[in-house]
Subunit: 225 residues, 2 copies
Amino acid sequence: MHSISKENYLKTVYHSAGGSGEQVATSKLADKLEVSNAATSEMARKLSDAGLVNYARYKGVGLTESGEKIALQVLRRHRLWELFLIEILGMSWGEVHDEAERLEHCTSDTLINKIEEHLEFPKFDPHGSPIPDREGNLPAMPTLIPINQSVAGDTYIISKVVDQSSELINHITSLGIHLNSKIMIVDKLDFDESVRIKIGNEVHSLSKKVSEHIFVSELNNQDKI
Amino acid sequence: MHSISKENYLKTVYHSAGGSGEQVATSKLADKLEVSNAATSEMARKLSDAGLVNYARYKGVGLTESGEKIALQVLRRHRLWELFLIEILGMSWGEVHDEAERLEHCTSDTLINKIEEHLEFPKFDPHGSPIPDREGNLPAMPTLIPINQSVAGDTYIISKVVDQSSELINHITSLGIHLNSKIMIVDKLDFDESVRIKIGNEVHSLSKKVSEHIFVSELNNQDKI
DNA sequence: AGACCAAGTTAAGCATCCTTAAAAATAAAG
DNA sequence: CTTTATTTTTAAGGATGCTTAACTTGGTCT
Ligand SMILES: [Mn+2]
Ligand SMILES: [Mn+2]
Ligand SMILES: [Mn+2]
Ligand SMILES: [Mn+2]
């Protein structure tokens, strides 16, 4: 098994590259991992030596096939743990991410497979993200769009919430937004890129920062999830 | 939270001191932790600086009050995880120790309390060891004796198995020994300190190494567990 | 007591992962 | 196409936790 730092790094490259094999700037990774640029450059070289990323100085990093395999394993552990903590142990949406962020690094295949079995082989985690199977395959997903790209007047279903920070999740929860909530886009304000949405009878304003982390699907796509 | 190394060290001091505040030789800890004596001496000094152990050169280490508090927290997490993995996830006796050895270092109070609640506040782990409560108090336990101190001809109940290594646990399991099994001491051989025991209709020979890790209670003490 | 031995400690050094500060490469302006 | 600004890398060093090898210390044997 690789070190905690290496696993977190590979997972972050995967997230930042947006699934495809794009090159990611080392400074972007430094931001997300909350370490210095210097630390990220150094790690890029080490992971490159280990054959887990493609890296050329000043050109960013991208996962190799074996690097992606590891990233998907970590992601699998993270997402299964989150679902388990919510479904079986009754923890809250806001609590599970930080816990999973640690557990993902100290869970054997045997254990994570037991958890998967206990949850009856789920396909999505509590934030709507797909869970890789034992071979690293992701389930088919409908195309989702972030709220800041939605159309005013249209109605959508909340389908995924990017859960990088528990602060964001707690804020979203406090607005009454949950997975599979139905929302209507009231209007979009150009000057600050905020979006006003209607949930039930309440109208809330979402800043750009918030709206770009919430993904929705069109109402008629709902059955695909 | 302290580092993994420090937590393991404190836990090992607790185990080695046999509950009371005896001083433990650094070399004994080095053996159990499978590191060099040098590493143990260095760590003794660091933990002493942090006020977690009493340490005077050449005199061994003993837990301070705050050191014992941490040891008991780690022990609590270890034992609750082991029980959880067996009871809820169906893992085997031999598998859970190694898993718990890692999980014990990355589990928040919130999570371990949820686990405790889910298990309905158990008092003993799957090997018969007592589980400290949230305040670090251990449940009352009957006095147990290791099999190598048992009396030939007498009948006992298996009440605790020290689970330092999964090899030992697997061996014991393969002999058909489980918690609460009833056994009879057939005889004790002086020349190699082995013990022969009868379980059901089978007679097995236990080496000294094995017999000193299995603890039994007299038959009439059974109800106290 | 003096010599000896085993147990325990210190010294020096290595791996990992991080930092800040200086240097180099790339990108942006003029 | 230079000059400047920004991004990225390299260099030097610190903390932690480990190693082997050399050195102390305390206890034992004669
Ligand atoms: Mn998460
Ligand atoms: Mn993590
Ligand atoms: Mn155990
Ligand atoms: Mn451990």
